[in-house]
Subunit: 466 residues, 2 copies
């Protein structure tokens, strides 16, 4: 059998709120930048790019976040287009991994498939590289390889994998998967050599995994094999089940490959703090920060000045519309706090004040009784949805770039410093016909509800609405 | 001798930065609201209003803050007009008190004068009332009365006054003024009955104080007696000296009146916390706050959501452009931190993102390369300075109210939802001719420096520029 080509699937689904207020329900942590300017998705992509090559990397993501993935990849000069596989609904990893694999098999007979979560962090790329090599060999022999991260400390927040008999000099069969342990157990696992953190990274032969789904989860295989392009209704029939639970815990082909690189699922601000490099006083300081007599703090600024004084073991995360200040050891409570916010219907739990769109983004600048001010930024070549408002009129001031504006019967070109008024009832749209971002200051009158009384003639993707 | 009329002088000068970021160099703490909606100035005024009556209360303040005092008093339906005495420059309390007294003596032969700082807090108004009565009697007998606050605890942050022999059954002569003591001393003063906090509240007969200035500070009296309306040049000759130092420490007419009401100079966030009422977990929570597992915290929000989790003894003060997070026991460091900010030329140390003007206020909403967005709110009947820009053009969108706009040769009335473009070089001004606040969204192009390239034909007070 000839050597199979290696392909990589990045799982970019899931909506995390554990890093609130940086991550929001509509803006999960894979799209956030924990350090520097790259998002976790961008970092994950760059990490594997030179190994697999752009043409062999696909991304599985929920439909509603497809444009966001596109945006992040464009920022690092990757234009995936068809390589982004959109799930009509959010399901768990088992359907996502199989869906991505089946898409691949519609183009090739077989391949070695690597699966990487988009929202984890990894350091020591040499060790990462050699792990991929070793996983490659195991997968060739029809093993389903899961990366077992050698514990850095007795973490109680992760699931563990117990390795069994040696398969070769650097991998074990899998005895069992273990839920998050208590501290005593975690210390025990540390002391033994065959317990590993479950990193959620997998490698397997496509043909192998199809066989395993046939045996252990035929209903998923049946549904996903059905149609070429999934619709919401079909996808909704899929069970919400993880790959570990559906396959790994049941298969006799499982292998755990111990890896020693630095890894974190950055599932809390504490774990973000633990992973990131510190300055002299053991603080992580990101943004416009002035720190006095403070130590062991994670201070993540946004656009405002943050002054901290006399703090220890505190996490501060600032955003445009919400700020979190938490004892860093209690940062795992954030999840439940955000759930409370959702129950209260607080917008701060759902979206940012900055809202990304397929065509660019907008920022809510100000709202007052009867009017609302937004800054709208449209990417070159992009256009907003064609729409009209029953009760809302709008002023647009072109503060940067050149716009083509449909306003009722008229279509006009508006240059920088120009302005246009959109009366109620007028069908309207703005398009960036320049080659630089188009900036618009919009003042809305009347109905200031976000989506209130909008009649869309096309959606944000330029498709005619049904 | 017939009973003299009582008059009150509120000292509203001084630029405090110890309550940064709420207070700024250009926005001292007397203009801030520590709790509820009233500023300290408004609270101070209301506290004495029913006792002295509006016609017998004057306010001494620096020229640049005269409009701000007016604004705060208008908000509580007081229109002082001539009763606001503007110092051309900031000097210390000795010149301010004498200047206010001389203004008074230009209208009456003599009076009983009470002096109250605008930026302190007081509780227990009955006790405050009776203290005024007692001070009144002492002042009638030519004493210069200073209120001595009975220490609530061994505070090391205040100056103390040592009482001497009894003048009557409720007041002492003054042995000496004592600088901020160490903890041991402070405890000693607590245990004795004749040591008091120096509250900076005074009462005296106008004629008495003039005599005392003749004796102890004739140069101040001479300069201030010179001209009816002070100019900057004359005022700059005055020494920067406190009333305590110039008069109280030297005079033989001094008396200290022990008072038992709750008082604080709110000179640090710690002292603000100590003074304000607490909720069940001993937190002070102001604004849109969600507090979990937190105690002994002062959380002061602005317009954003603040979530605190697992905090103890922390002060959080949020504003539009800066946030402070400090261990509450170290909050006295804020002063030095703000001084550093000033040295770095940080705007956050000088002004707020919301800038008050004689005609209303504006908020900086957004700034980007080449343009700047402001929200301008003009009070009914007010107008901005008549001006023109060499290199800046502006769009104005009238988002609320009705504006009269001078734009080059034209004068136009612009109603709500209307817009007007001000080209470079055009002399322009906007005036609120309605009886509700006028809201304008301004987009500036070209020079986006705050006061860059403005040519003012009139100043903010509508006076022709020299």
């Amino acid at each position: 059998m000839g050597k199979l080509k290696s392909h990589s699937i990045i799982l970019a689904g899931g909506s995390g709120t554990r890093l609130w207020p940086l991550s929001r329900e509509e803006y999960p942590k894979q799209f956030s930048n924990l350090s520097g300017s790259d998002s976790l998705l961008q970092t994950t992509y760059k990490r594997i790019l030179h190994h697999f090559g752009e043409e062999n990397i696909s991304v599985v993501v929920g439909e509603k976040h497809k444009f966001e993935v596109n945006r992040h990849l464009r920022e690092i000069n990757i234009d995936k287009g068809e390589m982004i596989i959109a799930e009509p609904l959010a399901r768990n990893t088992a359907p996502a991994i199989l869906y991505g694999t089946l898409k691949l098999l519609s183009e090739v007979d077989d391949a070695l498939v690597f699966v990487f979560p988009a929202d984890h962090v990894i350091e020591d790329l040499d060790s990462f590289e050699s792990a991929i090599m070793n996983a490659n060999l195991l997968a060739q022999d029809d093993y389903i390889v899961t990366f077992g991260i050698k514990p850095h400390f007795p973490e109680t927040g992760y699931g563990y994998i117990e390795g069994g008999s040696l398969i070769n000099d650097n991998s074990y069969s899998i005895n069992k998967f273990i839920e998050k342990p208590d501290e005593e157990k975690a210390n025990e696992y540390m002391s033994k050599g065959n317990y590993f953190w479950n990193g959620g990274i997998f490698a397997f032969k496509a043909s192998t995994i199809i066989k395993q789904f046939e045996i252990h989860a035929p209903e998923i295989l049946e549904i996903l094999s059905g149609t070429e392009n999934m619709d919401e209704q079909t996808y909704s029939k899929l069970p919400n089940i993880s790959f570990d639970y559906a396959i790994m815990e049941k298969t006799d082909r499982g292998a755990v490959l111990p890896v020693s690189f630095k890894w974190s699922d950055v599932g809390s601000w504490k774990s973000v703090f633990d992973f990131l490099p510190k300055e002299n006083n053991n603080n992580v300081l990101e943004g416009d920060i002035i720190a006095k007599n403070s130590k062991n703090c994670l201070i993540k600024g946004d656009r405002r000045l943050i002054v901290v004084n006399g703090l220890s073991d505190i996490a501060v995360v600032d955003t445009d519309d919400a700020v979190l200040i938490s004892h860093i050891d209690h940062s795992s409570n954030v999840k439940s706090i955000v759930n409370e916010l959702k129950e209260k219907g607080r917008q701060e739990s759902i979206t940012h004040n900055i809202v990304n769109k397929p065509w660019g983004y907008y920022i809510n600048l100000n709202e007052d009784h009867g009017y609302k001010v937004k800054k709208i930024v449209v990417n070159p070549g992009s256009k907003l949805s064609l729409q009209k408002h029953e009760h809302r009129s709008e002023h647009w001031i072109i503060s940067k770039g050149t716009a083509k504006v449909i306003n009722g019967e008229d279509t006009v070109i508006v240059k920088e410093k120009g302005a246009v008024f959109i009366p109620q009832q007028n069908v309207h749209r703005v398009e960036n016909i320049g080659d630089t971002p188009l900036h618009i200051i919009e003042v809305q009158f009347g109905d200031v509800l976000e989506e209130g009384d909008i009649v869309r003639l096309e959606d944000d993707y330029g498709r005619m609405s049904k």
